[in-house]
Symmetry: C2
């Protein structure tokens, strides 16, 4: 690449963060880490800081920040703490690219800060666009910030749309693995344990995303994310089950031509694409062997069996506070499920109940979006109590 890109990684100790650092390590001539941020994993941050020598590290948790400060004494690395510390890492003047891979709605403010600072934002956090898509895309436009998706689906769409006639776009087709329960029959959904939900057949991801994948809420969030990234209404964004996860997504044009992006199921590929953009980096990973894969299958999703997908389409259609409410309620419900406090099948019920009471808000006002998020978490808690679920 022509100049070395300086990267700030928000959520560096999570799954996307680790994959990002793997790419940086392989391409040290092209990429350089200037900031690392984590919620509370100070041991992880210490290891990473010693290896990648950033200018700053940030920990949301005060105690973790204090421990990191101790561990990095004399290393010449500034340690930031709290929400403010994360926001500073997100808007660091030294950073060219901000990898936004904080999990959940906690990623809204850092993503907004990076966009406000006019960065190239490599976005893995889909909740930011789901809840605050109107605010963030308008701010990106205003500040000349570029949002490059890291989700494999949106990266696929982004890649195939490069250089194409946008006016000729008919629809997007997001593929979904279907998660661990696709094709297993409705019975299995009655008895899902966290272990079962976390056993994803194709992708290695964090627990929140993996459970969302099992309910298909993940695909619903992606539909809303795709709406904000590519400007199409929900009825022009389709979902197709593709258990092999080789076709990462597709675009159909008005002449009937479909362009698809394919690859192995390795998050390092879309991450590397975002970091290298507009150039592609030469990567030594085993390429996809279609003759080995042999068979690609496609099925229509079952909206009855996976109601979260339909809820997301509904949220996108209704707009206002509904997407943020849906997202917040889902996060609370998934937390409760992972903690053994809510049956898997009730996740959609909690989300729907909160959506049905969502306030009308001005979704171009970030403070209203955040207030709505807080309201929805509380509402979800109350509803789960009535389910006999939440603590």
């Amino acid at each position: 690449m022509t100049t070395r890109k300086r990267i700030s990684i928000l959520g560096s100790t999570g799954s996307i963060g680790l994959s990002t650092l793997d790419i940086v390590a392989r391409r040290a001539g092209d990429l350089e880490v200037v900031a690392l941020a984590s919620r509370s994993d100070f041991r992880g941050i210490l290891d990473q800081a010693r290896r990648f020598r950033p200018k700053v590290v940030a920990l949301f948790d005060d105690q973790a920040a204090a421990d990191a400060k101790k561990g990095l004494e004399g290393a010449g690395i500034e340690v930031l703490c709290g929400a403010q510390g994360i926001l500073e890492a997100a808007s660091l003047p030294d950073a060219d690219i901000v990898v936004s891979s904080v999990v959940g709605a906690a990623g809204i403010m850092p993503t907004y800060a990076a966009v406000q600072a006019g960065k190239v934002v490599a976005l893995a956090n889909k909740e930011a666009l789901v809840s605050a898509g109107a605010v963030i895309t308008a701010e990106a436009e205003r500040r000349g910030a570029r949002i490059l998706p890291i989700d494999s689906e949106h990266s696929a769409v982004f890649q195939v749309l490069m250089g194409q006639d946008r006016k000729a776009l008919r629809k997007l087709v997001l593929t979904a693995s279907g998660g661990p329960f696709f094709g297993k029959g409705p019975g299995i959904l009655e008895e899902v344990t966290p272990e079962m939900a976390l056993d994803h057949p194709q992708w290695k991801m964090g627990p929140k995303v993996t459970v969302d994948s099992a309910t298909m809420m993940n695909k619903g969030l992606e539909v809303i994310e795709a709406h904000w990234l590519f400007g199409l209404p929900g009825d022009r964004i389709e979902v197709l089950i593709h258990p092999q996860s080789i076709v990462h997504s597709m675009v159909e044009f008005i002449d009937g031509s479909i362009l698809a992006q394919m690859g192995v199921t390795d998050m390092r590929l879309p991450i590397a694409f975002a970091l290298g953009y507009p150039e592609r980096m030469d990567l030594p990973f085993d390429p996809l062997d279609l003759a080995e894969a042999r068979k690609l299958e496609f099925f229509r999703p079952d909206f009855d069996l996976f109601p979260c997908l339909g809820l997301a389409y509904d949220a996108l259609r209704r707009g206002g506070g509904v997407p943020a409410s849906m997202n917040a309620a889902n996060e609370e419900a998934v937390d409760a499920f992972l903690a053994g406090r809510l049956p898997f099948k009730e996740i959609a019920g909690v989300v729907k109940a909160v959506m049905d009471r969502a306030p009308a808000i001005d979704d171009t006002d970030l403070s209203e979006v955040l207030k709505c998020d807080r309201w929805a978490r509380q509402a979800a808690g109350e509803i789960m109590l009535s389910f006999g679920g939440a603590a």
Copy 2:
């Protein structure tokens, strides 16, 4: 489209020509026919001329031209005849786009003439690039002529490469249906009749292309064509059997990402793409339904069972007069097979024998290429006599 495009169709009464006219009829506001050319089908030309009102029609066959002249008396349409007539239609000053869909090496000179006249050449005739790729691509460069492939495979590659980083190209993957004999076991090749070879499972095409598809020589010709269109050596152009013919071809980049173009098996789609380029036209054909198709399969080709494919790679590697010799010998052998004068299994043997004797020529000299083509046809005839085949 911004301006109405004026089209000359060489081979208008063949399969590609008919599909081209179907598109023109649907988009009369954007597309207009100024010339129609056919070998000898004056009845077909008359019907088309009355419907599409071109400025000129051209027939290679003198008698057919005379009959057409009679039929079009007073219609204000000029009738051209002979090789010279076809070349005039190919370089008509009024034409913006020349659709080059003459079958076989007969397409070399008209394609060259269109390129020499600086036209946009929508190229269906693959033999022109196979035999005279060096001459034609150099002339296109010199004259600023743009070659837009109409073959579904090359159209697919062209479409996915638009706007992509060409330096990052790792390889092309051309898909092949495998033809009617894929997966049927070697035994079937012993007893192939013309009827069997002409019964293609996926694509409706003319007889020459359909037999080439059954021997896989068609895919070999496409490998060479892809070399000239996209500038990659043969070892970076792969062939993959894909019996469903839904993925029309693919491109792999250095980061492992694969971009593919898909669609229904309808030649009108790549034709419309070439005619509309750089815009896509809104077409009312049924779009591809992947959930309906369900399953896409991929297999490595069997070079032992389909030796013509390996011969083509060999011809591309050896260069000089070998590709032109291979192509001419193949045309003669296919003719003999269709006439019942050569067993299907001997087509490859005839081609190989001619290739083995191919003269060293300067393949940037069109007259040498054409001389080589004539030599190879004669050599093929002699060899077929020794097979006990040719008349």
